[in-house]
Subunit: 190 residues, 2 copies
């Protein structure tokens, strides 16, 4: 998605060879028009797949997921961080290890909103080592639902997330694939 | 907003005389089409006010805020919970006491994205005692920006949030105003 790559080039900040900061349009400030176009791009890729629900994770996955849900005409569920929940019964629960923060957190989805007959599109802002994606897939598996694939806004292709997911048979559609963050510069996969 | 009230009546769950749970379409599962209509309703109320930015708080404020931002053509900033931040410099910081959870949390906005010449619409999912709204207003004040008003999806009118904000001169626009949650039933302000 050329517009997204252009945004990353002009407004992304390379913090290290591992970390790309996109607080200007995705992770803190959000560009709603760009989110609409991202939602459209995901919808195009998964339109005829019989999706019944989108699953994402709070907070940065919500904007792209809701825009995709709007276009596909399906509800969005955002997995919640366990400590932000007021009710703690009847939940699917999984753990995510954050490499950036070196902490483990627990995420949850209410069993009430995800069912065995759902066919799910997973959407997230970043794919790096695949930990968050695998935790979401674990929650979906607990519900007995099936997975159409994963829609990722920015993939760090130099990390192992994509290959881990593809090895397990999942379809991964990333709108921008970052090949390297060397020398303070973003290079994309062709 | 009649459609929203109908959703609350049919899918909202009254947990106590104080607590209304709307996990079915706003706080956990999100109805994207309803969010679009909510965004439209906020845009209608604030269209000619010279808004330059929308400020909300993660996570449940994001969907309605992004839809309003799309229609008003302005960026959205979501205040982040401090523990979720990777960078902690150059921030405006404020504290929010959560009555529901009986805990205090710290929220922040990067000084890079909010400026003295911004004219801000604050959007949030709920207005109860006004603690979250006041923390957001505090952050906006630290930036020296001005406030056009607050757009609230669901107001619990039996709590003091609205009067606190109006007493300080803020315009409050709530799309559904809940008068009472007595006897397990939602009653709206006329």
């Amino acid at each position: 998605m050329e517009l997204l790559k252009e945004k990353i080039r002009t407004e992304g900040i390379v913090l290290s060879e591992q970390v790309l900061k996109v607080d200007a349009f995705l992770n803190h400030q959000i560009d709603p028009r760009l989110m609409q176009q991202i939602g459209h791009a995901f919808a195009e890729r998964f339109r005829d797949q019989g999706i019944t629900k989108i699953v994402t994770i709070e907070a940065s996955g919500i904007a792209p997921a809701v825009m995709a849900g709007l276009e596909l005409g399906v509800p969005v569920i955002f997995a919640r961080k366990y400590q932000s929940l007021t009710l703690r019964e009847n939940l699917y629960i999984s753990k995510v290890f954050s490499f950036t923060k070196q902490t483990e957190s627990t995420i949850a989805i209410s069993a009430k909103h995800l069912h065995a007959n759902d066919h799910v599109l997973v959407i997230d802002d970043f794919l790096a080592n695949g930990h968050a994606a695998k935790a979401l897939l674990d929650l979906i598996g607990q519900a007995g639902a099936s997975v159409a694939g994963l829609g990722i806004v920015i993939e760090k292709s130099f990390q192992e997330g994509r290959s881990l997911l593809e090895n397990e048979g999942y379809r991964v559609e990333s709108l921008a694939r970052v090949k390297s963050l060397k020398d303070g510069k973003v290079t994309f996969v062709d």
